[in-house]
Amino acid sequence: MTETRTGSAAAPPRRTPLTSVHSELGASLTDFAGWLMPLRYGSETAEHNAVRTAAGLFDLSHMGELAVAGPGAAAALDYALTGQLSALQPGRARYTMICAPDGGVLDDLIVYRLGDAEFLVVANAANTGVVVTALTERTAGYDARISDRTDDYALIAIQGPRAAAILAGLTATDLSTVRYYASCPAQLAGRQVLLARTGYTGEDGFEIFAAPWDAAQLWADISASGASEGLIPAGLAARDTLRLEAGMPLYGNELTPDITPYDAGLGRVVRLDKPGDFVGRAALAARAEAGPDRQLVGLIGQSRRVPRHSYNVLWDDAPCGTVTSGAPSPTLGVPIAMAYVRPDAARQAADPARGQLAVDVRGQAEPARLVELPFYRRADGAARRS
């Protein structure tokens, strides 16, 4: 057998403060965006299911952290990003994007407001350099300093319905006061951290920003505390199927410089109503007016063959779009995919009487049902990005 997908590394990948911990746990390590990251520890399906039913522990130290500080920080971010970060309350976080002047997405970000004049911007590992450069250029006229703090943070996520109960045993902070998309400084297992109630799995959970030298001990203490609750370490493979089920975009798949937030169905992150200019405003306003020429949709495969990234979507046997992400869904037990399709095809396929979409799976058309995103929504609350 031959794997269709191949990868290669030019430079040796960077290690996180937890790489040796992963090796000791027997993880399969992979080069991801220039970092040596755990792909899985055992069965990625078991890791996925643990996050849905109990909890999973992730090393996300490859993510980029950028500090934006100074009296002009809020105004600078309002100009540099699509969101209105000046309206964000200290202690709250927001999902937002940084766009090129033509409206294309350079990265999707979570911005934490830590204080009146202090923000933490979390970028995708592959885009950290692009975001640092763009933010530095765009904020040059503002009284704000941008610094790449990626090496100053380990980032550990605990995700799943038991996450809060597991952390509660390790901190005096009342976790019920930490709302979804909020953060606060906290003592966790005796270490000073920034504790954020954010994630990328569709479950309740926390992301923990810690000093690199505290990471291994925190990992061990959380693992020990969570073992009786069903907590297991989870790798990037599980993270990908979890976010796909939750309908969350992955940069490089659903989001690229050729895609605007409107194409991705994320027009809500573009605050055209905010005062002042921002990078990409004119192009994005025009796109909002015209409507997107493609639409991000959910597909459920009707056979067992899985639609994968880059496969053609067919309507009436003719290409009408492209799959951006696809996988066998561990929770639903069927193949699921996200795809960009022409709006007219999506409209027609929404009415089953008019026919059905298909995906060209290596030369054979496999029927696929159009569904609303997300594929999975947790029962007890709003697992969505605010």
Partner: protein, 132 residues
């Protein structure tokens, strides 16, 4: 990683056990580890013809899909009926309960089909792939 000495291997990570004029085929431990959790196997059907080095099916895992190649020439006599309901057998027992199909060999002379690797040669190949 397990590479049983009595089996033969393809460079595409199938194993084959030859017993007289019949052969059993599966994928290796190295392959199942690289693939991750197998969720669906499309194996050749009984009575179909397979040819050495030719694709004869596919294996879907969480992360990817891979072609399955036949190590030998012949006619498929049996397909593992357990795999349909429990494709995870390919992960949990790749050389045993995770076998995929059996072939009646065209050449029953006992000659080894060309292009197959010994356990030692296959081990060396996987070392190269892991290091590259």
């Amino acid at each position: 990683m397990s590479v049983p000495g009595e089996l033969y291997y393809t460079p595409e990570h199938e194993w084959v056990a030859i017993n007289g004029s019949t052969a059993s085929v599966g994928i290796t431990d190295y392959a199942q580890r690289a693939l991750g959790d197998v969720v669906f196997v499309s194996a050749p059907t009984a009575s179909s013809r397979v040819a050495s080095g030719e694709p004869c099916g596919e294996i879907e895992s969480t992360k990817s899909v891979s072609d399955l190649y036949s190590p030998v020439d012949g006619e498929v006599t049996e397909v593992n009926p357990e795999i349909e309901d429990d494709p995870g057998l390919v992960n949990s027992d790749p050389y045993g309960a995770g076998w995929l199909f059996k072939v009646q060999l065209d050449d029953a002379s006992g000659e080894l089909p060309p292009g197959l690797l010994s356990a030692a040669e296959y081990t060396a190949l996987t070392k190269e792939e892991s290091d590259s």
